[in-house]
Amino acid sequence: MIKVRQLRKRFGDQQVLDGVDLTIEKGESLVIIGRSGGGKSVLLKHIVGLTPPDSGQVLVDGQDIAHLNERALLAVRRKFGMLFQSAALFDSLTVEENIAFVLSRERNHTPEEISRRVAEALEMVEMPGVQKKKPAELSGGMRKRVGLARAIIYRPEVVFYDEPTTGLDPVVSDSIDKLIVRVCERLKVTTVVITHDMRSMQAVGRRVAMLHHGRIYTSGTPVELMASADPVVSRFVRGISDEKEHTF
């Protein structure tokens, strides 16, 4: 469904992506792991067309979106839903208006239908009854749930999660992981999760790809990666720093 070929991106002196090759199959649950600042979020932004690459291709259903203009990309992005690291809720709108954003702008839905679908989406993310609240009144975990409800209400084919458990306590992180699995199973959507949280990786991933030095270093099942003898993979999944290397 999505193919990334030889994707390269440089910011100033830093080569963030250095020839990334990655295939995301329809219906799969892929987790992309890698060090902080290693380019995971940049890769995700390239896949959804938020950032243009220096070179390379991003093929979505066979169409190269890497060099499409913003208006042409809008139609492609209709296939995607995305949960941002900070949830990125519109703070001037209520929870209901946030979730209903896409449906309200399509103009072919009745207010009753929109209300019903917002309630369903909130039910799915286990947040019923918060329609009238403003994002500022919600906790970090609640904001992520509302962000996810906003991303799934229009039934996208692929849902992207940018570090969904970052900044949350372990219990809330676990509940978000379970929510991601539930949404994936109930809506039958392709799921792509960016994380450096190994618990999250094992909970939601069926396949894991590791980004290292701007390339996909390895991929496999979570069990294979956790048992890997490769020193780079092994150190990362066990959280062991290398004294010879700067880790910040």
Binding site: K45, V48, L50, E70, R71, L73, L74, A75, R77, R78, F80, G81, M82, F84, Q85, S86, A88, L89, F90, D91, F101, V102, R105, R150, A151
Partner: protein, 259 residues
């Protein structure tokens, strides 16, 4: 030594290029996309209704001080009854549009840059794009249209209040003859002065909104980026208003003379 000017020139040119592309996208959106009435009304309320106090105070005191200053000079040559004519022509063609636009640039332009800049640094603009919504359609076009509608109306209000305040000061405080003053005011102020003020304020509205939105959408990272964007939105819009006012005066005077 030569690198610094080259970088500055490159930055200025790339900024102008991005600004032009944004304006072109606004024009394309206006002709191809449907403008949301609710978004437009929200912006009209924020820009028009909430700027009332600032504009009324500016207009009134500008008219009053202009009346007093003009009277003090004209009184020496026994031309007291021409005072309100000078106030009226100045308020309609120059002071009304320029001072209103500068006040709106300070209040509204800064607010637009801060709002959009904050949305950018908190990834809300990226979120809009993933929700299949063009930021120009949703964020910029309603603000530009609303400002281009609101600023001429605010200017008209400012001119009217300024002339009224000048009349009160002139007639009741400075004892100018009201009858001759009104006759002279009507004699020397014609529809071209009013039209010039209207056209200028319409263009100034466009300058304020496009500058504020551009600075917000392209702001740097973090609180510092938003702060810079806000300051630059006001400074650049104000400079653009003052410079364009000079050229508009020359151009419109010639064009309106043909009417």
């Amino acid at each position: 030594m030569t690198e610094v000017p080259t970088n500055v020139i490159q930055r200025v040119l790339s900024g102008l290029g991005r600004f032009s592309l944004m304006v072109a996208e606004v024009l394309r959106s206006l002709t191809t996309q449907r403008l949301s009435g609710r978004d437009l009304v929200d912006q009209l309320h924020f820009i028009g209704v909430k700027s009332q106090m600032v504009v009324l105070v500016t207009g009134a005191f500008t008219g009053m001080v202009l009346c007093a200053q003009t009277y003090f000079q004209f009184h020496k040559v026994k031309m007291d009854t021409a005072t309100l004519a000078v106030v009226s022509v100045s308020m309609c063609g120059e002071l009304g549009p320029v001072l209103t636009a500068l006040m709106v640039a300070g209040r509204v332009g800064a607010s637009m840059a801060a709002q959009l800049g904050t949305m950018r640094v908190t990834e809300q603009i990226d979120a809009l794009r993933t929700l299949a919504t063009h930021p120009i359609d949703y964020l910029v076009v309603p603000r530009v249209v609303a400002t281009m509608i609101a600023v001429p109306l605010l200017t008209a209000e400012s001119i009217a209040v300024g002339i009224l305040a000048a009349y009160l000061v002139g007639v009741h405080l400075l004892q100018i003859d009201p009858g001759y003053s009104l006759v002279n005011m009507q004699r020397f102020t014609d529809h071209r002065d009013v039209l010039m003020g209207f056209i200028k304020s319409f263009i100034f509205g466009g300058i304020i909104a496009t500058t504020g939105c551009y600075k917000g959408i392209h702001c740097g990272q973090g609180a510092e980026g938003v702060g810079h964007a806000t300051t630059e939105a006001v400074v650049y819009a104000s400079i653009a208003i003052l410079i364009s006012n000079f050229f508009l005066t020359l151009l419109l005077t010639r064009l309106l003379a043909l009417i």
